[in-house]
Amino acid sequence: MKTKAPDQVEIRIPRRAEFVRVARMAACALASQLDFTYDIVKDLELAVGEACANAVEHVADESADEIIVRFLIDPQQLMIEVIDQGQGFDPEAAEPGAQGEWDEGGLGLMVIRELMDELEVSCDSDSGTCVRMVKHRP
């Protein structure tokens, strides 16, 4: 039997701080259509905001002028991919403690890891950075 592909929603935003809210609003709107509680919807909003903020703050490559936010919806889970097309960043460098006890940055991945059920960060110089996170549906 052929497995149905997940429903997919994709938005593209300029890689600038003022557009991160647009991605957050999309996450809220989409998650609200599913069977998540209000608290989980707000967690998803924050996780998407953190991933997009990471793409804005930690990617030095100026040619990476766009962020793709892709939502993949199936009956078991919501997968969200936040992709920039820069030269990637070192996930370990974006973790807290990398530069000292009280880092001003690098808390975003810690927050996402706490809020989501799964988190994977992949980086390479060709395809940039992909933050892939999953929330299981109730």
Partner: protein, 116 residues
């Protein structure tokens, strides 16, 4: 989505209150930093950050607060947090920053503490 409203007031020569209403995120954390640095340059030694009206904060906002704390700790001052709503308070807990900031239920309690 509520726009950020920043209010800064000096309580006495050494203590100031920075009230943040709305959303603190990657787009406007820099504005909050500037307001805090202005209070410090005007003589504030201790800063009470009133988050009673803060509906959303991301880690960029937290990082900005850490930056202000580092700045004031250099001169023996402090940044304390007041009236954070549950979701914002949870962000401090997730990141372990409850070990770094003193957090009070309201501004009056925070002011009482920093004034000693």
């Amino acid at each position: 989505m509520t726009p950020l409203k920043i209010e800064a007031r000096t309580e006495d020569g050494k203590t100031a209150v920075l009230s943040l209403a709305g959303e603190v995120d990657v787009a406007n954390a820099g504005l909050v930093r500037e307001s805090g640095l202005k209070l410090i340059s005007d003589g504030a030694h201790n800063l009470v950050v009133d988050l009673g009206g803060t509906e959303y904060m991301d880690s960029t906002g937290l990082g900005m607060l850490v930056g202000l704390l580092k700045r004031l700790k250099e001169s023996g001052g402090d940044v304390v947090i007041a009236a954070a709503q549950p979701r914002v308070k949870r962000l401090f807990e997730i990141t372990g920053l409850t070990q770094v900031f003193r957090i009070y239920d309201d501004v009056a309690a925070a002011l009482k503490e920093v004034r000693g």
